[in-house]
Symmetry: C2
Subunit: 470 residues, 2 copies
């Protein structure tokens, strides 16, 4: 490759490559407590943009943000466990506080589900209080035995939405709206990640849900990453927590609820979907730095032009910065900016400045071009859009190529070693799903023949997408 191997090979050692990228691009590192994570400025910059883009979409869908406490009485968790079969998280428990043993042990929220149940039961009284559309951005803790930065950590950051509706149809439509208008739209437009959307099988559903909708992305090692889910909870949750309301005819009804979430895990997906042997490739919309201007020679004229160009870019709303760290070799600096996935690198040396030119390098294609200084700002603006589009197209092509049509469980298991397999949903039974699971393969989602979310499992012509998953 003509450069020092600073990363393990993506092709030969995908997990090693992932770990190297997270560390060397300065995204995150392990915290002092096993399984916890320190998110460094460059990694947190990704999360801030994810948060703001998702939050705007969540608000457009009418939901309002709240904040519920970190600590939950252990009895709340027990209550939920009684009502919701299969509920199980590895909990962290607070037994002492303020220097004394507590009368009742407290749980650090593994999610805020029980507290949402509690407040919704109080805030919903009449049909006029519905729909109640709430969301929360917070940290949660689930004790992880095999942690992996961003993908599976003992503490992670996420949003969880919880809504209550007067009718089953209202809840169902809202869960789908969140999946497509919030999650799928965000992933496609901002993360440049085409995702498969569909229903989960009964086996793969969230405990307590009557329907789980999912966004599944294909990683470069052929595995799936579940990027976000949206659940219809029927009346299960409202019965457990007493979320009922006086209908317009005066009768008492249980509400129909939904819940939906996405987390810092998406950063792992972003890395593993777009990254290449040289490191991260960031879609411009999410990149903390969109353009880096690398000063090649320590000369006043070069520094002046670099600063001027940065200012012009910033005036256009482009996130640009100048790298003037001439204490490090040019080769090393270039390698580092490639590793960090900055979409466009501008190289500026004394000969370029004398000729009123500069060199633009695209991170997605690694193509180089010498352009007139006077045209650089306009060309960069155009190139950022082109990179955003190209990364999406690239992943769309990979996703299409990565789905292999099969017509038997055995063939699907075989195909799932390299990517996704599609097969008729009719072949998915309790037994065949167990057979898949034994080989490390799961049904990622059920789709209709057009690749859309089916309205029920009983629709004719459904297909199942199976694969290995993170």
């Amino acid at each position: 490759m003509g450069q020092p191997a600073i990363l393990k090979s993506q092709r030969d050692d995908f997990p090693g490559w992932y770990q190297d990228v997270v560390a060397k691009a300065e995204l995150a590192e392990n915290g002092a407590v096993r399984g916890t994570m320190v998110i460094r400025p460059y990694g947190y910059g990704l999360w801030e943009r994810m948060q703001s883009e998702l939050d705007a979409r969540i608000k457009r869908a009418g939901a309002e943000n709240v904040y519920l406490p970190l600590l939950i009485p252990y009895s709340y968790i027990q209550k939920e466990a009684e009502h919701v079969k299969g509920f199980k998280f590895e909990l962290a428990t607070v037994t002492h506080a303020g220097g004394k043993q507590l009368e009742e042990a407290l749980t650090i929220r593994p999610s805020s589900e029980t507290l949402f149940g509690d407040v919704m039961a109080r805030w919903v009284q009449s049909h006029r209080d519905l729909p109640l559309l709430l969301n929360q951005w917070a940290n949660v803790v689930r004790w992880e035995l095999r942690p992996r930065l961003f993908l599976r950590t003992t503490e992670f950051l996420w949003q969880e939405g919880h809504t209550a509706h007067a009718t089953a149809a209202g809840a169902s439509a809202y869960a789908l709206r969140i999946l497509t208008d919030v999650y799928q739209d965000f992933m496609g437009r901002v993360l440049a990640l085409p995702v498969l959307v569909g229903r989960k099988t009964r086996r793969e559903r969230f405990a307590g849900a009557v329907n789980t909708l999912t966004c599944e992305a294909l990683m470069r090692d052929g595995k799936a990453l579940q990027m976000a889910t949206s659940h219809e909870l029927g009346q299960n949750f409202s019965r457990a927590f007493g979320i009922n309301f006086a209908d317009s005819d005066g009768s008492q009804q249980f509400a129909w609820t939904t819940s939906w979430g996405s987390s810092t895990r998406m950063i792992g997906g972003l890395i593993m979907a777009h990254g290449d042997e040289y490191g991260l490739r960031l879609p411009p919309m999410i990149a903390p730095v969109q353009v880096v201007i690398v000063v090649v020679h320590d000369e006043p004229a070069v520094l002046r032009v670099a600063d001027q160009l940065a200012r012009h870019l910033i005036d256009q709303g482009i996130r640009a910065r100048v790298d003037r760290d001439l204490t490090r070799s040019l080769g090393r600096r270039i390698i580092d900016w490639e590793l960090k996935g900055v979409p466009i690198r501008v190289e500026l040396g004394s000969r370029d400045v004398a000729a009123h030119r500069c060199v633009l390098v695209r991170r997605d294609t690694r193509s180089k071009e010498s352009v007139a200084e006077s045209e650089a700002v306009a060309l960069i603006g155009g190139a950022l859009s082109a990179i955003q589009q190209n990364l999406y197209e690239d992943r769309l092509q990979a996703l299409r190529a990565g789905i292999i049509e099969t017509s038997s469980i055995e063939a699907a298991i075989e195909a799932a070693q390299r990517g996704f397999a599609r097969l008729p949903y009719a072949l998915i039974t309790e037994e065949s799903e167990a057979a898949l699971a034994q080989r490390g393969v799961t049904v990622r989602c059920i789709q209709d023949s057009d690749g859309h979310v089916p309205t029920s499992e009983d629709q004719p012509g459904l297909t199942a997408i199976v694969g290995r998953a993170y």
Copy 2:
């Protein structure tokens, strides 16, 4: 007052009034665990705006956001307690996780100070790594025996900044910059709250700090609320955590650090500084709803004009909404919008619509005016600015009137029963400060003769501001 007394009287029972406003304006309620807080959408809307305005200023000051873990090994806290005399928080302790007792107990962060020490020691190697300017938005837990919503809760939301510098002068200038350019500017411009800025006395300093700078606001009951603080930590913190660097001459130096924070407590300050007998009065810049259009009659023409006006306002970037809830009496709806402190209320009845007019009511002055429908949008835009300005002027006048000049400790104690007292700093000794404390009065800050932050305690002509405080 010609209306039902839905709030306790601010004048007669300030704490009762505060509690009523928090509950009835739907800002927050108690969580299931004693001392914790559920922040409702309307209250969280205030916090979201505070966060985004502060965050923009923090970024302009060059700091970058990170995220450090919630859980801290207990040994870290012990290490800090050994190094920093007077360090003490009421901690919540996790002893069990994942179904097993932990080998080492974990603490839920009372602040992230020890973890910042840990990462800064690793990230700072050379003088080229300085200044290192970091900030974090997160929840923290300190066990509170006498909790009070927003003002003192077991869990609260805040930001804490931690920075490391190569020189004492660099750290000192940055701590002051944060105080004035971030905190004071935000409070003045956004919260419409003039604050006193100054140094703390040695007695009132943050444990481990060599200098604590503070923003103090005057509440309507004459008490002070410390709104934010910024600390110079000298080399105390870097010695405790081993934050050192190779200077340009090759010698190893300890860094000079700062820390600074502000929290959801500011919401309490906003309520207690601006609120009146009718409830909240929100400065337009922080108000989740800036204009509410109250539909008086359930007629298509009225609803149409209301929607149209809302659309025009929203197009101008104004946060407007229509109240069409005709199931409740007009009087009750008006009382509720006043309680919620919405800066402008538009009343729209059938007679108004027929005459192409509407009624504008300002929350700050409660003045009413009938205006032409065609001029409403422009008038509202102007009125929002005027309200923002007027609330600031109002509080500035109250602050000026609230500071009483005194020349003895006894007189200052007397004056502090009604507001702030100013006296020569020369009168503040260890003994007199203890005498103040016995009467529930503390030195809020030390200022120079122009009311600015003094560069040292030894400057001539310094004054002390004393008062009772939350």
